[in-house]
Symmetry: D2
Subunit: 339 residues, 4 copies
Amino acid sequence: MIRFTNDYSEGCHPSILEAMAATNTEGNPGYSLDPHSEHAHALIRQAIGRPDADVHFLVGGTQTNTTAIAAFLRPYEAVIAASSGHICVHETGAIEASGHKCIACPAESGKLTPAAIRAACAAHTDEHMVRPRMIYVSQTTEIGTLYSLAELEALRSVCDELGLLFYLDGARLGSGLAAGDATLPDLGRLCDAFYIGGTKNGALFGEALVLLKDELKPCFRYNIKQRGGMLAKGWLLGIQFEQLFRGSRYVELAAHANEMALKLKEGIAALGYSFLCDSVTNQQFPILPDRVVEALKGDFGFEFNCKPDEAHTCIRLVTSWATPQENVDAFLKALADLS
Amino acid sequence: MIRFTNDYSEGCHPSILEAMAATNTEGNPGYSLDPHSEHAHALIRQAIGRPDADVHFLVGGTQTNTTAIAAFLRPYEAVIAASSGHICVHETGAIEASGHKCIACPAESGKLTPAAIRAACAAHTDEHMVRPRMIYVSQTTEIGTLYSLAELEALRSVCDELGLLFYLDGARLGSGLAAGDATLPDLGRLCDAFYIGGTKNGALFGEALVLLKDELKPCFRYNIKQRGGMLAKGWLLGIQFEQLFRGSRYVELAAHANEMALKLKEGIAALGYSFLCDSVTNQQFPILPDRVVEALKGDFGFEFNCKPDEAHTCIRLVTSWATPQENVDAFLKALADLS
Amino acid sequence: MIRFTNDYSEGCHPSILEAMAATNTEGNPGYSLDPHSEHAHALIRQAIGRPDADVHFLVGGTQTNTTAIAAFLRPYEAVIAASSGHICVHETGAIEASGHKCIACPAESGKLTPAAIRAACAAHTDEHMVRPRMIYVSQTTEIGTLYSLAELEALRSVCDELGLLFYLDGARLGSGLAAGDATLPDLGRLCDAFYIGGTKNGALFGEALVLLKDELKPCFRYNIKQRGGMLAKGWLLGIQFEQLFRGSRYVELAAHANEMALKLKEGIAALGYSFLCDSVTNQQFPILPDRVVEALKGDFGFEFNCKPDEAHTCIRLVTSWATPQENVDAFLKALADLS
Amino acid sequence: MIRFTNDYSEGCHPSILEAMAATNTEGNPGYSLDPHSEHAHALIRQAIGRPDADVHFLVGGTQTNTTAIAAFLRPYEAVIAASSGHICVHETGAIEASGHKCIACPAESGKLTPAAIRAACAAHTDEHMVRPRMIYVSQTTEIGTLYSLAELEALRSVCDELGLLFYLDGARLGSGLAAGDATLPDLGRLCDAFYIGGTKNGALFGEALVLLKDELKPCFRYNIKQRGGMLAKGWLLGIQFEQLFRGSRYVELAAHANEMALKLKEGIAALGYSFLCDSVTNQQFPILPDRVVEALKGDFGFEFNCKPDEAHTCIRLVTSWATPQENVDAFLKALADLS
């Protein structure tokens, strides 16, 4: 079975296992109050060009989103997101379970737009409705699309105009950095908070939440602990981000994933197939005849996305830092044989 | 100022104030454990033909909806509603504040349809998404439309098919009973729980929540107390529903409101104006030239609904048990003068 | 049956019913945005000597406490209260249901002390524990005792020292004002927020929440709505507080209740019985032989408090603005006959 | 620095890192739906003698406690625990943040007793108070004491008598199994749910939650996801528990920790010092002169527990599966030199 199922099917970059083995018995304080975590915080502050940022490591994405959003909002405040946003669909109502409404907006190619944000705010006029207070965007989006720097700057403007916080979910931020024109310093400049995903880009687990706006910083560790996200052996997170932010490794790992995805894309397109959207990142959504999809299932792992018509199926192919070229070649060969 | 602003601008039916005065010093146990409340429970059980029903009195609608929905659902379960449903829009995220997602569906004339329910359930497939567990419908709806008996029966069928609870918000149930073909015994037969609105039909305040499905009944008073809905002088609720359910008063009061609304509707239509939807209940949504709306504002109270085009405004006119015929006449005369 | 069961067994002061009848058809905007509510707000601001205060009317005590505390605290913050405090015991976990821990402290005569507050704060040292952020005290307390002005000033000092908010539950504030040396202007000067109880002092229902600290004021109506506490016919609350704050009626009603309670106390003491605590307010806790308690049950209503020893029972006797002298006399005569 | 600070200062048993390296690129389905997790589930079911048990892996203890307790309780229900219980003190109000009150009871040597449970239930009599529904005990307790099999059976009896669920926090269950007479099959027979701690007994992270009572099982994975506890690379948990439950390794690792602790205990006692309590597990609480404690701080890591008197300090010494004998010897030598 060759898996294009997701970008979290393998363990981690070998350097991480090596670092874990090397530090296994060194003895460290718990709860991310250790030198590895501090060092990794510093590396991330440097990479985003914000020495004043607070960095917190959490284990997973839903946990990070919920902890951040619940910490940022007052009880009656709500978060605006694209209707396809991860928090709207794939977190089992975690945001609502923390007491807050997600205002789901129509998305354009999986992206939240200034127009949608303005419409959402205009529709919430008084105390009989929730009060929109922040926006949530995913870079890259759930369908592999990408916000350009100009788009992120436009979101920042509308947030300034409407008094909204700007939060970015970077579960696949590596892929976005490698494929797009917005850099980590751009995010450090534009966002009020965002997270840098480790799980889907070479770590065993771990997300680095970056708090930029001062009012979001006080007592944040209380929120992490209360929501069950404070890892006892927190240095394990520090060690992983030390490795991911060694040189330009974080972007390089993602660049490989993107490269493999683009080879898939080119090969599939060359066979005459179309796509759900034009993705330049590590998720590709080709539309294939049902018969072909059925035949591929035996040897390849992938997820069903949707049925654009009676005879075709859109599937999701995901590559990762660990995807070998030969897997891509095998898929394209099998597809060619079936076409 | 003649108000068509809403159906809760006046106090209560005179019989209620008389009953309050008559019982003011009689001394009663607190928290609705008094003879008036028990009597009123019995009257309601009788009216719906379900001697096994549990009846609980609460003060207001948002409180009733939140208490019921939060009591019925497990933490990961969600409620399906029309996107125009009161809980989706006008309760300041009260349902989300209790931890639950409202799955907002496209509505047809303000109504939730079996097709929309099926689509919502089909879209929620596994533990990464909330689990749809109940439907919420308003009778009458937020735009004055009405579920027919056949429509309610169809909703019951889809609930049975999909394992969903059927909950009905009866803030304006009186108007629905007076205008439609579904009776209180029909609701007693079809719903798992519903409430009978007092606030908008002659009471000072108060809603009667009816629990029909046995598994929803145990310990329900704990939920009322925890959510701040247990009125110390609970007999005040009992007294009001004793008066509302004296003979057929509950439907008669609403029938008057409907009659006044239909006179408005006929008069407005006779002047050549159209409506947002075809309402046969106590809320009417005429579409008028902006100039006319502006001119009416001086003497009449009403709420803005929407702007269907550049030159027109849709307003909401609401009548109540207390609306005098002369107010209707005055409005129609003013409108005629402006037309 | 002569009731000393509680102070909410009767309806309301007759002036309130008269005012309701007089205004029944006048037509008012909803949700406490009406002239009666505004007038009552002004009367209360004047009575406490704080023209800058925000006043909000809610229906009941548990609702008021939960709405206020949940609005004031960040998710990881906790409220400190005496272990006998209403929020710790008799609100079905409403504060916890809003997400916050109540730190229960040992009480002295039902009162929270500066020493207990300091100990609670000293025991909560880091992010693995909740962060104490406010104190909750009841005036009068759940066992009828009273904070003196000096005690309230000491509480203010410890709050200033430790960065805590000072919140006072005034469900029985009338009784406290009539019996003690702390005035409404004192509360206006010392508290960050408090509420003035209507339900137990002459109203049908209603509590007036007073917000004094500026940071607690913004968007407060959102909290009221979200927690189901925004009464549609909000002017009913305004009308009641207009009547209660007409002249010195609020304190006079409570003074009568206290006077009746003190007559009970004196009469019971004259028969040689002792009390759980020395109460000068409208709740008295005499300790009587079990035999006597049993015999009194036939004609008098009261609540069981505790069993101080095998042969004795402590009962709670509560008087109200409506308690007639003859009820007190009847009780004392019956007790004398049994003694 | 020689650390007796806690039992989570080191990484993991070497076999775990080896297994991670060996499986790093094998490719696995996410979210614990992989063969390693399934195998580890089977090993645990076998070890507890309950083939019908549901096993779920979570990352940490607070997360496991909150997920379980919030899933088991209805909104108005509460959990009974010793006042020193982890959920009452050291989880930043996580249980309250999920909406539930912890009823804190006086503990005997850190243990919850049937008498305390009965008293807690007797004190909660009606819907104005929370409804006690489960008990929480820690094996071993927060101060290193241990429930005997007879004590656990007595707790089961009182739970049966009062209709309570029996939940056991096994963060340090290894130490308890190695030191006491209650076995895993005993827990499988007596508890409704419990968890087997990995973090403090040889794993990098991970706790195995065991659900025994059928009504607690349905849809449990929804709760894990909603509370942010579903690890994307869930097989990492499976791999770790495969290693911990290989033969009798789980108990052996803990037995070593206990042995080191008992050597500390004997050595300290031989020098004439006393202890806070008589612990036979991996946490020891010696009471030492302040001067000695100060002097030890330079070379040894440990936590402050309390000040039993002016001149003495009680410290906590914790050993782990990784504590070398030489660390114990070094501490005892240093203590002897200071004595």
